[in-house]
Symmetry: C2
Subunit: 262 residues, 2 copies
């Protein structure tokens, strides 16, 4: 299952806000065995939202958007979602009931701006927001799952845990993923490169990514992040252990020889 | 001038790392009057990198990539950049000299993995990396500027400040931007929405974005972020002041009437 994450909001594009939503979602989706193929941040513009959603629908099975579900003029996600698929944008009765009851509990009536948060593409399902006001939106279309979540992090997370995690739990990944990071001190990344190539050539379905943390020449520290895939948890875990051991052996050899070799 | 930022690296897509590079770059570009239209995060895959760079070149004037410039197998940015435009991928003499001198200063010779960091699309200019080893890449092509920076934040920032900022300084923006945030307590975002609509309809080239920080109903706190554009600094500053004053007046009225209105 392949996913795209679409972050909607000018505040990301002017660097006012760091996109922690996308990082959180990527982590959670990865835990469910879903492959996040792309994260895209776009402005609050209908045309951009429509084009990006359609592009995502052509390339991914699961699309999660964040942002643009609130009451103000620049909240355009829901209406754009409807337009992208030529669906009517209608008041969802369940969502409206929920929103009305929230405002009425404080003696407030719904105005047009509040009703807007209950509008969704026809056929969509509202995902109740127990933390805030605007519900999320679930739209199943063209054999794809599109989920729109609010941009406020704690609202986004609450709807994810309440509803999205349940939808994803019913999906059984074709392969199980396991991972481990090891920290290597004293060997430049460019000297670890042949070791990584060597180990990767010995196994299928593994990936070793190096992250330099120190200075390549004057004080090398490199994090090696090992990802393995297996048919099941046990296979993945055993493979991971084997790969890490093999890597560690080569690294020990290299450290011994390092002063001679360089 | 429109820009796209392309973040290359699986670590972003599994949520291992928050994309602070893109936020930092967006902020700096915005300061130079450049409009960041899109941020895209893609995996370390040649095909994805090529397609995204071509898409960016068709839609933006300035493209900045981060990540994928190191010595390991998964560092594919430079070669993909060459392939995207059908350019030869060649050792840049200036870059090689720099890299050789760095390694030799510690008694190390260059190996193929180290030479790789000196390879660039033919015609590209290396941007010296005073913090790390792999240089950045400047490629001017099809009337567009493409800049590839390392993924390590302090290396990315150093090359930006040393070279990219100078390139951008020579560009005179068509309009000057000014901004301010004000915090509004006690009015739900859905009650501020008509005020925002009203003020935005009174001015050209302004944008008011609301960011809910509290709870819409039980304890509303909303940050209003006002962006204005003017022909010059003075015009932008004066317009910003006027817009903020007008907003504040409406907000004060609303606060007075709030208990009756709701």
């Amino acid at each position: 299952m392949k996913a795209w994450i679409i972050t909607i909001g000018n505040e990301i594009l002017i660097g006012k806000i760091v996109n922690t939503n996308a990082a959180w979602l990527s982590q959670r989706l990865t835990e469910y065995g879903i492959e996040v193929r792309k994260i895209i941040c776009i402005p609050d513009e209908e045309k951009e939202i429509i084009n990006t959603i359609l592009d995502a629908t052509n390339n991914a099975d699961l699309i999660i958007t964040t942002g643009g579900l609130g009451p103000t003029f620049d909240d355009k996600t829901s209406e754009s979602l409807a337009k992208a698929f030529g669906l009517k944008w209608v008041v969802n009765k369940e969502a409206l009931r929920e929103i009305e009851s929230k405002y009425r509990s404080k003696g407030m009536e719904v105005n047009n701006y509040r009703i807007k948060m209950a509008k969704m593409p026809e056929g969509a399902t509202p995902l109740r927001n127990r933390v805030g006001t605007a519900p999320g939106i679930l739209l199943k279309i063209r054999n794809k799952i599109i989920i729109s979540l609010p941009g406020v992090p704690n609202e986004m997370k609450a709807i994810f845990e309440d509803y999205v995690s349940k939808i994803l739990s019913s999906y059984t990944p074709e392969r199980v993923r396991d991972e481990k990071s090891i920290l290597v001190k004293g060997i430049p990344e460019s000297s670890l490169a042949p070791i990584i190539d060597n180990v990767m050539s010995q196994y299928e379905n593994i990936y070793i990514k190096s992250h330099p943390k120190g200075h390549e020449i004057s004080g090398p520290v490199v994090e090696l992040h090992i990802t393995v895939y297996g048919k099941n948890k046990t296979e993945a875990k055993e493979k991971l252990e084997e790969v890490v051991n093999r890597l560690n052996n080569y690294i020990q050899q290299k450290l011994k020889n390092h002063n001679n070799e360089k």
